[in-house]
Amino acid sequence: MKRRSNLLTIGMLALLVYFLLPLFWLVVASTKSTGDLFSSFGLWFTADFHLFQNIGQVFTYGDGVYGRWLLNTLFYSVVSAGGAAFLCALGGYGFAKFRFRGNSTLFGVVLAAVMVPTTALAIPTYLLFSKIDLVNTPWAIILPSLVSPFGLYLMRIYAQDAIDDSMIEAGRIDGASEMGIFFKIVLRSLAPGIVTVLLFTLVATWNNYFLPLIMLNDPELYPITVGLAAWSSQTAGGGGSTGDLLALVVTGSMLSIVPLIAAFLLLQRYWQSGLSAGGVKG
């Protein structure tokens, strides 16, 4: 049994405060009316607990467009993440367990693409999509989000270790088709790796701002990030009638981060074991 170090714990506690205090501020701020935001101390509550009025306003302002944004975000990120994770699982298994001509070359090309920045692709993709009438549709967000070179890399490493060749052989001897083997035997063993890729693609799409900002101009299609940025730009315009929007931006921001934090906490067992496979081999 090792000795615990109080000094180290205190040092880390300071670090933890740095990471959590802004979020605490956000939670406190979302319980305040716009007036109290300006007049009271930011890091503590006021007597006037305004959270539920704020939440009510967030969901009713502009014909309830915020709820629409939340649903859009959920839809874009779940479909993108599910699709990307599935493509990566299929491809990673293919690269890991089959020897075919060009295997290492193709994999090398994909690996090199990890370095290609997604935002450098966004403007050309927008120009392409505007030629084929895909801009301002959900596809404009989902299709580019389906490619995850890093996800493929992670799944290949994971499949290499997690799938026993004898399992595949046994399936073949039983006369199962290759796809049958994948769906009935392999997929289950890949689960932690798939959850890892799923979660990280989910975050990438959920948090994406640049792509939807350029692809969409219909507020009904906005994800939460573009919507909140639009609200905040209205508050920046000046006080007066838009002053009330400030409380909405703050409360809307607070609400928007709850689902992802919850997903990470609930699924931590899976993504942590999935990541360690990728981390070791680096």
């Binding site: 299929l90 994909v110 290759e178 975050v203 350029i214 981060i257």
Partner: protein, 284 residues
């Protein structure tokens, strides 16, 4: 095994359609120029010569290089220290620390920037409030001199947890026998961290570094949103990506924007490759 193609085909189709084709298309577009008279004409490498002598673009690239040199070492150092501390077994409530530090990763850059923007703000930001109650002037987070540091703080806040988790996962993969052998030899926690753990983290650190290069050069959401709070500090070419966006959507200079995007991608690939080359382990 030809069947392997079946498995990689779906990924490769999407890969080509969404990554290779846009890249090639950007390269193609960048060779043309729009004119008021005569429409779009072939321009050869004119857009590139223009980009390489464009002070606004070069200013933006140098700014993100400065940002990178300022922010990434701090971020990776905090991530490394946190990962080592959590892995050391010397910490009480290690799990609370691990999850607590990771949480900001789940916060979108937009929300993080809006939030820090309010915190920095001179109106109701707690820093300004504290300074005010002490009779001091509000700290200049959003001024010309403070902005790059303020932005570095936001990005650090967002990504320490992510890097820490990658490093921590790599540490868990170090065989326990190594520690036991070192402990038998009388090595303490510090010595083990320095002589065994940090060398073992080399590949994972490299991965974090590459991702940081890519992230820094792509900086967009943070400057774009902070621009509203400090329009006189952040202009439309503050980062190369913001510049490309402005060119394409405000200036309607699509072809030049494509050239800038393509160059930006090239700069990032070169910078990442340089990092890889510089840190490559030389054969003993």
């Amino acid at each position: 095994m030809k069947k392997g193609y079946l498995f990689i085909l779906p990924f490769m189709i999407v890969f080509v359609a969404m990554l290779v084709v846009p890249l090639v298309y950007a390269a193609y577009l960048s060779l043309f120029r729009e004119q008021l008279i005569g429409g779009t004409v072939f321009a050869g490498l004119d857009n590139y010569t223009r980009a390489l002598t464009d002070d606004r673009l070069i200013g933006g690239v140098l700014r993100v290089v400065r940002f990178f040199l300022l922010q990434v070492p701090i971020m990776l150092l905090i991530s490394l220290v946190a990962a080592l501390a959590i892995d050391s077994g010397l910490l009480r409530f290690a799990k609370v620390f691990r999850l607590g530090i990771f949480v900001p990763y789940a916060v979108p850059a937009v929300v993080a920037t809006l939030m820090w923007g309010y915190l920095y703000g001179p109106d109701f930001g707690p820093f300004a409030q504290l300074a005010g109650s002490l009779g001091l002037p509000a700290p200049g987070f959003l001024t010309d001199g403070g902005m790059l540091g303020s932005m570095a703080n936001i990005v650090t806040w967002e990504f320490v947890g992510y890097n820490m988790i990658i490093l921590y996962a790599a540490l868990r993969g170090v065989p326990g026998e190594l520690y036991e052998a070192a402990a038998v030899d009388g090595a303490g926690s510090w010595r083990i961290a320095w002589s065994i753990k940090i060398p073992a983290l080399r590949p994972a650190l490299l991965l974090c570094l590459i991702f940081s290069v890519i992230g820094s050069f792509q900086l967009f959401a943070e400057p774009q949103l902070l621009q509203r709070l400090a329009p006189s500090v952040i202009d439309s070419a503050y980062t190369p990506n913001l510049y490309a966006y402005t060119l394409a959507f405000t200036g309607q200079e699509v072809n030049y924007a494509a050239a800038v995007s393509f160059l930006l991608g090239l700069v990032i690939v070169i910078a990442s490759s340089l990092v890889l080359l510089a840190t490559r382990r030389r054969p003993a």
